[in-house]
Amino acid sequence: MKRISTFLLSLVCLAILSSHDMYLKLDQYFLNPFTKTTIQLFNGTFDRSENVIDRDRMEDVSIIYGGERIQPSASKWFEKDSITFLELETKEAATYVIGVSTKARSIEMDAQAFNDYLKHDGITDMLDKRKKDGTLDTPAKELYAKHVKTIVQVGDSLSRDWSTSLNYPIEFIPFKNPYEVHVGHELEIQLLYGQKPLANQLVYVGTQVNELSHTHDGSTHSHASNETQEQAYLTSYRTNENGVITLDIKQEGTWYLRTIHLEELSEGEFTHQSNWATLTFAIGKGHEHENAATTHKHDIKIPTYVYLLISVIIILLLFFAFKKKG
């Protein structure tokens, strides 16, 4: 079974520390057709962007919908504070995929800085290897690139675009449209590296819930109305032999995945190469399961014309009956 083959490495929470993850984010992932919106490119943490990204650093910017892949012009980008924004004008209803891939850059770190970075960014496999190999005191010169994408729903029409690969060096691809998935469902997501499934890779998953009140240990309390609550932890998963993790969708809101694939290089001027991938999407309210998927709630509506017809007939019959009766 997929669920067994994909195992949860740990439920231990990982504190979000300062890192340089990159995310494509939206305030709302449900958009109207033929409307303008902005997509935010964060470089820092999911909550806070620490710097903007220059256009010349972008290797690819793509929008996929309706089976087409388009590259928006550089003029569609602008910056505000430390966030880079992409103007998007939606077209027909569909599930859209937006991706950004950056060119590789390099960074040199002394041994301690490199170890700290491995620890803070959750690249524990490499940290363990350095411990095991006795190379904790070895500095590093790393080549790194980031490849991020988001999946958004425009209008009501679900399309197959969510499954289209952007052919980035590393990329998350869900097995199902996230906008068909709701609380109580599972969502399998595959991680591809070089277009092949990447097995045994650590993936961190976070959620962000925008709500007016929430519950801790059975007691509910509310927050200030404009406060965004992020669960201050990420859950770690490890991909199975098919490069797949299985998410147990337990809540609505924004979901984000991040992973950093770091490998040692044996030749050239660089000691390591990393490729970073993130994916964001939202889980909506289309229907919901309660109590661990034991119940299922859907909207069931009487067609209005049926209701109208029956109502008119009843009222007319009653009217004539009462009129006759006097």
């Binding site: 709302q28 992932y29 449900f30 919106t37 509310s222 609550q229 909506g284 309210k285 509506k301 009222i315």
Partner: protein
């Protein structure tokens, strides 16, 4: 076609035309609110009042009983205060009660108004109906919970949430006014007709039937869920 029938048809068309045009738009509302500004909340609030036939049936029952304009204003104001209290507070505090149960109670409020308007408390239960104004306020609270559960079913985000709730509430009031104007006008016209008593009984008996149907429908959905 005589005048009575023409008035009756006009009433039915005006009362039901809006729901006919704007029903089943939840997913579009979802997208509209997701992208729109506060005007979107105003629009969706008004539309949900106009298309929520259980709310309109209850209002119809309230209006039918009243003859003076001042009474109409008084009762509608009390109903508005009632549903605003629960709409604002339940949404802000994130209180969600099972929507099927709430809708079943709203269905009961429709039945109740028909029962009261037909004088069945005195006739069948042998006691005077509870204070009319108080009951409209109580049912207003219930209707507000229903509206709140609808508002909470949207992705409202966290930005300016109080503004959104209040704007939605204002939209509900606009929708209510838009629905009441033709209802009050048509009822006032029909009231002058010699067949008004038959029409009064027909519509209020229909409220009994519709109320029971709504209760059963929502309880079936609740049990199925």
């Amino acid at each position: 076609m005589n005048k009575t029938i023409r008035l009756l048809i006009l009433f039915l068309i005006l009362f039901w035309a809006t729901p006919l045009m704007a029903h089943d738009v939840t997913s579009k509302d979802h997208a509209l609110l997701a992208n729109g500004d506060l005007w979107a909340y105003l629009w969706v609030g008004a539309k949900h009042m106009l298309t929520g036939y259980d709310h309109l049936l209850f209002l119809l029952g309230v209006i039918f009983y009243l003859r003076k304009t001042s009474d109409v204003i008084k009762f509608i104001t009390v109903f508005t205060i009632g549903h605003s209290i629960t709409l604002l507070s339940a949404t802000y505090l994130g209180i969600q009660i099972n929507e099927y149960l709430i809708d079943a109670i709203i269905g009961f409020s429709v039945f109740y108004k028909g029962f009261e308007n037909l004088g069945y408390f005195e006739k069948h239960l042998k006691f005077r109906s509870p204070n009319l104004l108080l009951m409209v306020w109580v049912f207003g609270l219930i209707h507000g919970l229903g509206l709140s559960s609808r508002l909470q079913s949207f992705e409202n985000g966290s930005d300016r949430i109080i503004h959104k709730i209040i704007t939605f509430n204002i939209g509900v009031e606009f929708g209510q006014i838009a629905a009441l104007i033709p209802i009050v006008y048509i009822i006032s016209l029909i009231r002058k007709n010699k067949h008004y008593p038959a029409f009064y009984k027909a519509v209020n008996t229909y409220l009994l039937i519709a109320g029971i149907a709504l209760i059963c429908f929502q309880l079936i959905l609740y049990l199925k869920a």
